[in-house]
Amino acid sequence: MDSNNDEALDIIVTNVVATFRTRCHLNLRKIALEGTNVIYKPEVGKVLMKLRKPTITASIWSSGKIICTGATSEDEAKLGARRLARCLQKLGFKVRFSAFKVVNVLAVCSMPFAVHLVNFTNNNRPIASYEPELHPAATYRIKHLKATVQVFSTGSLTVTGPNVQNVATAVEHIYPLLYECQKPRK
């Protein structure tokens, strides 16, 4: 992936958030009664359902909108969402699996060097911002990719973006900028 270094960077996707609609009204009480692994939150008006096989937590609203979190890849998120839709179908609702969209992907990555955050921020203002008293990481927002990268001084990165491809591109984009601000690890 990286043409400018000889070691490949491991980008580990830790969370994928996806939404879809069932195009029908859902009776939350019924789901809470007849479903296992279900937590009903009447004060918020939603039901939390946890699946086992792809470890996914879904927030189900009565309007039929469902948000799935916890998957580790886009395909896994889709599988989990479909499984959930089947489950609701079996419970008796006229579910149609539609408008599936991956909304957010969170990934972590580790640079093989430490980063001098002050230099990095000074070189990349105003795209990068660093407030050491508020948060120990420098935030770098890549507008055209709609991705946010948080750089820690140890060289660890946290990347969030709308899909896995953007996340990978964001890491590629930021690598040279970090490379020139590296701190030799004693």
């Binding site: 490949a8 491991d10 296992t36 086992r52 890849s73 395909d75 079996k90 008293e133 120990p136 004693k186």
Partner: protein, 444 residues
């Protein structure tokens, strides 16, 4: 025309007509001429004007009261912190500029007060008089996250930059707070603030080199450095046994709980350097390192170079692959420190492929459930000084990887049935819920 149902209070007749007096609506009795009722002369909207104060022309004639109050608050804060008039003027300018911006004109009074504090903070930073954000939070008695939010908003609005605060700049001001000079405490506990500052600054620089400062809050580190500096300036038995809580009590400062952790970390770093002292025969541990602090700090750079060299040597002895072109030769003088640091860095990066091959993963760009991560060399264990978060790396929960998931696979019925209660279970559950609610209402 007559208004039905109305009777004149004077003569009782019902012959009442609408007869406006210019713009004022009035109802008049025809027979006796008395005014039965009248409308309002002016049409002032109920509950105040529809146009908010900030959009009226009154703004130019009479300045906003809250703006005046805010400016007073800025002056107050500057006076409490005893800042120069230059900083005060700059803060007032920033406050005026930010106040009229749309992000701050219609916000709550609390946020406007936080804005005042942030303006002072930025002005101090720009005029080379650094104070910490924690100080501002204390003064405003506000949560650091709130202050941080207002601060970032303000920086965006004003489009200015503040220089980064170096801990060595702030520590002098911090030590001023400690009432530990001869006039406040008995002779055996007293220390002059200049000596204390000098020692603490050296300790803090050492901490910065050994990854103790990066990413951490400033106050606990400064407290730890001050405490250790105080102990090491006169390392007798009494002082070494003096706990941090008592020290804070004597010096009349509030103790920070994380300072104890920082003290341990600082002592560990000092031990690593203390072991390199050539005249020490016994083992250097956290208990006896305080006596050696003065020597360690005086020869800090040499000891650091030596420690790194010895660490490299020990690593190369352990490693199966020998690196023949070892750039480190002989004694390293303090003046050649930067070169030696680069050399050790190069040596360590060359040695890096030695223990593991699992990282050479050609399709390593997006690897889900990467089990090789557990075997990945923890760079914290390979170098002498590393941040504690790397040394004690959290073990990521390694799940069974779901192989070759495409998202469009068949979902079997049995899988789905495991998520649905059987009718018997549903009946049992409802029964139990009823019983629980009955017993709850019985108790209530």
């Amino acid at each position: 025309m007559s208004a039905a149902g109305l009777r004149c209070p004077g003569c009782g007749s019902s012959n009442i007509v609408d007869d406006d007096l210019y713009c004022q609506a009035q109802r008049v009795c025809v027979d006796c001429g008395s005014v039965v009722s009248e409308g309002s002369l002016a049409d002032d909207p109920i509950g105040g004007s529809d146009v908010s104060y900030s959009r009226t022309t009154a703004v130019t004639k009479k300045p906003c009261l809250n703006l005046i109050k805010g400016l007073e608050r800025v002056k107050e804060i500057c006076r409490i912190l005893r800042l120069s008039s230059e900083i005060e003027d700059l803060a007032l300018t920033y406050f005026r500029q930010a106040y009229v911006h749309e992000s701050f004109i219609n916000v709550s009074l609390q946020r406007k007060e936080l804005l005042a504090g942030c303006c002072v903070f930025v002005s101090c930073g720009q005029r080379d008089w650094p104070i910490t954000l924690g100080t501002i939070c204390c003064l405003l008695n506000a949560d650091q996250t709130l202050v941080g939010g207002v601060y970032q908003e303000m920086m965006k609005v004003l489009n200015i930059q503040a220089p980064f605060i170096n801990i060595t700049d702030v520590i002098e001001a911090h030590i001023q707070e400690y009432k530990i000079s001869a006039q406040h405490v008995p002779e055996e506990l007293a220390e002059e603030s200049e000596a204390l500052t000098k020692r603490a600054v050296a300790l803090v620089e050492l901490a910065a080199d050994s990854w103790i400062v990066t990413g951490r809050r400033l106050l606990p580190i400064m407290m730890a450095a001050t405490y250790l500096a105080w102990q090491s300036l006169n390392p007798n038995k009494h002082r070494i046994r003096f706990p941090l809580s008592k020290f804070c009590q004597v010096a009349q400062v509030q103790k920070r709980t994380t300072a104890t952790v920082r003290i341990t970390e600082l002592k560990q770093a000092l031990c690593k350097l203390g072991r390199e002292l050539p005249w020490i025969r016994e083992a250097v541990t956290e208990n006896n390192v305080v006596r050696l602090v003065e020597d360690i700090l005086d020869h800090r750079h040499t000891l650091l170079a030596r420690a790194l060299k010895n660490h490299e040597k020990a690593k190369q002895d352990d490693c199966t692959q020998t690196d023949s072109s070892n750039p480190l030769t002989g004694e390293v003088a303090p003046s050649q420190l930067s070169e030696s640091r680069d050399e050790t860095a190069n040596a360590s990066s060359r040695v890096q492929p030695c223990p593991q091959n699992s990282r050479e993963n050609p399709e390593g760009d997006v690897d889900d459930d990467h089990q090789g991560e557990d075997l990945e060399p923890n760079w914290g264990k390979r170098v002498l000084f590393a941040p504690p978060c790397v040394i004690h790396r959290k073990r990521r929960r390694v799940e069974q990887p779901v192989q070759n998931v495409t998202g469009d696979e068949e979902i079997s019925d049995s899988e789905i049935d495991s998520y649905i209660r059987t009718p018997q279970e549903v009946r049992d559950f409802t029964l139990m819920q009823n019983m629980v609610s009955v017993s709850d209402s019985g108790k209530a």
